[in-house]
């Protein structure tokens, strides 16, 4: 070995620590560009924050593939190999291989605090007298669990439907149903926790958020869901890596969820956010 080669070797050895911290890989995330509180193109959602945490943890650069989270989302992103991880999916989500759950939330009743309604149960007789907002899916024979629960109890004429998609031209398409409570267009709404928790913060009047009960309706209709990260089916290597990350950085993730007001029905570290 000549002197020059030895010098190069020495330099490289000296710089090894720095080299290791240089981004050696890219974390490719599939996300909706206009879906607060989860994600948006400006990276203001809590899933954006978790993705940034993940990238920093892996000393990786973060790259997004943006696609509206509609029918075909997984097909056109994860499955098309355009990206490798979806930050939030239900743990029992068939189209993806999912990690262990990192939070659990529930559908919640959203009411104005000054109304003093204190709704907790779908069996509360007061529901029959109230105008109730609920989100509709529109996939054949599918709907949000509260939509099923209300119709199962014959609560129909006083129910107001909001499409779960909202108006995608709006800056935050999902806010409509919570805004409707705030504006008094409906007395109550039943909304998926993370959306309710986030948009309730921007209400003019204080809103109450109460997880619905029962926690499970017959026959086997759940109102609380575990949320995991999702990777391509078969990508067990990445799934295992993410599982390790989710356990080790649990406190940081819980902080992010708490900052966004995500109501939890599992035990979060450092006290629950709800």
């Amino acid at each position: 070995m000549n002197a020059r080669a030895m010098l190069a070797l020495a330099l490289c050895a000296a710089a090894a620590a720095a080299c290791a911290r240089r981004p050696a890989r890219t974390i490719r995330v599939c996300a909706d560009p206009n879906n607060l509180p989860y994600s948006n193109r400006e990276e203001q959602g809590f899933e954006n924050r978790i993705a940034s945490l993940l990238a920093a943890d892996r000393h990786a650069t973060l790259e997004y593939t943006w696609w509206a989270q509609r029918r075909g989302f997984v097909r056109n992103t994860l499955k098309a190999n355009a990206c490798d991880v979806v930050i939030g999916v239900p743990s029992r989500f068939e189209p993806a291989l999912t990690t262990k759950p990192y939070y659990r939330s529930a559908y919640v009743f959203v009411t104005k605090r000054d109304r003093g309604l204190h709704l907790q149960s779908f069996d509360d007789p007061a529901l029959r007298r109230l105008r109730i907002g609920v989100q509709m899916i529109g996939d054949d024979f599918s709907n949000t669990p509260p939509a099923h629960a209300l119709s199962n109890r014959g609560l129909v004429p006083n129910v107001v439907g909001y499409t779960v998609y909202g108006d995608y031209a709006a800056p935050h398409p999902l806010s409509g149903i919570v805004d409707a409570v705030d504006r008094g267009e409906v007395d109550a709404a039943v909304v998926w926790g993370p959306q309710a928790g986030y948009f309730a913060r921007f209400a003019r009047a204080p809103l109450d958020l109460t997880p619905v009960s029962p926690r499970m309706d017959t026959p086997s209709l759940p109102f609380a869901f575990d949320i995991s990260m999702g990777v391509r089916r078969g990508d067990t290597e990445l799934r295992d890596e993410l599982d390790e990350f989710l356990v080790r950085r649990r406190g940081d993730i819980d902080s992010i969820l708490r900052a966004f007001g995500v109501p939890r029905t599992d035990a979060a570290t450092e006290g629950t956010g709800s």
């Binding site: 909706d32 024979f141 599918s142 004429p157 439907g161 398409p173 209709l221």
Partner: protein, 618 residues
């Protein structure tokens, strides 16, 4: 209050906002020629009623206002069709489902592709029919994420020197048929609210009639008439809501009592459910010039589950007769009141004058999603007969006194409950794929599926950040095991005459000619010619991809008869291939995954136009 998002931030979302389309004014065209079909030159005849009777041309997707898809050409017939060969082809370069029909006007063929909805004109006077011009409307990519069932387009329409077509991102566009220059664009549907446009327009008396798609997104269905000259909206008739929105007034005279009353589009829904009640208009429109009435169907009620919308849910899942001048309704008939099964009422309405009993009746015929073949008096809306053309467990026919479908509610799908042998399933006995009627044989040729479904408990899904549950629906072959067929149907007797069984659902349109030949395509890619009287297979050609397009016939500038069809798998079932759905999930493609698991082995995607004639390529 946490640091992130301490206020709601407003920002424009590049690439997804509907483009405010420029509106160009009409340029006056040259005067109409004397003959309906000059051998060359520009046709600018305004008299579509005359042109649609000319068998040399194919000026609207259904051939004529009666939507018969019958060509009077007979050069190609049962004795010589076996000599049919490929004359020329054209690759669209698009891999989504090709459901469209080409048009032939004078010496030019027009073709609009699935998204991105490029319009092509071909010069039929030259060998190989080179592209004369093409027009790219720059359809927004974001529309793909909104379309329910593949990114299809069902064809264009021609009138007065212009070609009209819809784009998936919700525009109707008029293009100069000679030069390919856009004349006007009107933005009608809003993809940001889940609306798209996939249907073929129909032009009647200078009005371009178009409707919307997207019932699953909670949109409110409508049919809109645009002025062919400048694209301005002449009228719009909604499918739900108060009478003034539905254009129901003093001329409205329905046959059955259940369709009479004030504001039924409000009162047959709970609360405000009608506001997102569906009833989109994505199928076909027919027109009777003598009665001066248009006929079209409305789609299923949505996005509500049936138990969330007690009532008849007017005016969804039925058919309207309207005056094309002002849109005013004449009558309405509801094929599926309070639809339980996703049985849209959008299938084509074929107009004919049939000898029924001792009288000749002006009828319309409909092979409905609900499995019944309806013969209806088109002057009044009276049901003359309704007979099952596929195995049916979801209804017991029609009460002929009240006109009402006799439903079997225990077959309705409910989340968490196992319901088996629901026939026909959501796509129905027949979906959008149009049938043909031959006045020569008196038979209707119905391309259809033979399927049932099981609703099997609960499935967790996720959309727009929201977990939800629904019945996991799985389609399966109907009795006999064949998943599709082309059935020749006697509309007067209300029974089949012959049936050509197919392994896969027949998702293509049908064409019948005066040569007594019926043409249709299969999902494997076979383009078939069968004897219109016996169903005997006379000729077949294997195209490059599964066929879900609409075959047409025309006479070329050389005087020869040509048959044209697009090949290119896709559509609701074919998305298994065109969108590469995972068939390990039996519920993929909303139920198709299991029953069409073998489609991926049978065909691959890719759009191609095929044009056939006698003796070609031999």
């Amino acid at each position: 209050m946490g640091a992130p998002g301490s206020r709601i931030l407003f920002f424009p979302l590049a690439g997804f906002l509907a483009v405010g389309a420029a509106c160009q004014k009409n340029q006056p065209g040259p005067p109409p020629p004397d003959s309906a079909r000059p051998l060359s030159g520009t046709v600018t005849d305004t008299d579509l009623t005359r042109l649609q009777q000319d068998d040399g041309q194919w000026v609207m997707p259904a051939k004529n206002y009666a939507s018969t898809r019958f060509s009077g050409l007979n050069e190609i017939n049962t004795s010589n069709v076996k000599r049919l060969g490929v004359s020329w082809t054209f690759s669209t370069g698009v891999t989504a489902g090709h459901e469209g029909a080409p048009l032939v006007v004078a010496d030019t063929m027009y073709l609009v592709t699935p998204w991105p909805n490029i319009l092509y004109a071909f010069d039929l006077t030259k060998p190989g029919a080179p592209v004369k011009w093409s027009y790219d409307p720059k359809t927004l990519g974001a529309a793909k994420g909104v379309a329910c069932c593949d990114m299809v387009n069902r064809g264009a329409a021609w009138f007065n020197g212009r070609v009209f077509f819809n784009t998936l991102d919700g525009r109707t566009i008029a293009v100069d048929a000679e030069t390919g220059q856009p004349r006007w664009t009107t933005q009608l549907a809003d993809i940001n609210r889940g609306e798209t446009m996939t249907m073929a327009p129909l032009v009647v008396n200078g009005k371009v009639l178009v409707g919307d798609s997207g019932g699953e997104f909670g949109v409110r269905g409508w049919l809109t008439a645009l002025d062919a000259g400048d694209g301005g909206i002449a009228w719009r008739a909604y499918s739900t809501g108060p009478d003034k929105d539905v254009l129901i007034g003093s001329s409205y005279k329905p046959f059955y009592a259940s369709d009479r009353g004030t504001d039924l589009g409000l009162t047959t829904w709970p609360g405000d459910a009608w506001r997102i009640g569906g009833g989109t208009v994505w199928g076909w429109i027919s027109y009777d010039p003598d009665l001066d009435l248009i006929y079209y169907g409305t789609a299923n009620p949505g996005p509500w589950n049936p138990d969330q919308r007690p009532g008849d849910n007017k005016w969804t899942a039925g058919m309207f007769a309207r005056s094309p001048a002002d849109g005013q309704a004449r009558w309405f008939y509801q094929t599926s009141p309070h639809d339980l099964f996703d049985h849209d009422g959008v299938n084509e309405l074929v107009l004919a004058d049939l000898r029924i009993g001792d009288a000749t009746r002006k009828v319309l015929m409909r092979a409905d999603r609900n499995g019944l073949f309806y013969v209806i008096d088109r002057t009044s809306g009276e049901v003359l007969s309704a007979a099952p053309f596929v195995p049916v467990t979801t209804n017991r026919g029609v009460d002929m006194k009240t006109g009402r479908l006799i439903e079997v509610p225990e077959k309705a799908i409910k989340a968490g409950v196992v319901t088996r042998d629901i026939c026909p399933p959501a796509p129905g006995g027949k979906d959008w794929q149009p049938m043909a009627f031959s006045p020569a044989t008196g038979l209707v040729y119905i391309p259809h599926q033979n399927l049932c479904e099981d609703g099997e408990g609960m499935q967790v899904s996720y959309i727009a950040g929201t977990p939800y549950v629904g019945a996991s629906v799985v389609f399966k072959p109907g009795p006999g095991g064949n998943r599709g067929a082309l059935t020749a149907w006697d509309p007067i007797q209300g029974k089949p005459v012959w049936e050509a069984k197919e392994n896969f659902p027949v998702w293509s349109g049908a064409l019948v000619t005066a040569g007594d030949v019926v043409f249709y395509g299969t999902m494997e890619g076979w383009f078939k010619a069968v004897d219109a009287r016996t169903g005997e297979l006379l000729w077949q050609f294997k195209t490059g991809s599964g066929i879900i397009g609409q075959p047409i016939a025309y006479r070329g500038p050389d005087g020869k008869e040509y048959i044209a069809v697009q090949s290119g798998i896709g559509g609701w079932p074919g998305a298994i291939v065109s969108a590469d759905l995972d068939t390990r999930d039996k519920t993929a493609g909303n139920g198709w995954g299991g029953v069409l698991a073998d489609l991926k082995q049978a065909t691959t995607k890719g759009g191609m136009l095929y044009v056939f004639s006698l003796g070609s390529g031999q």
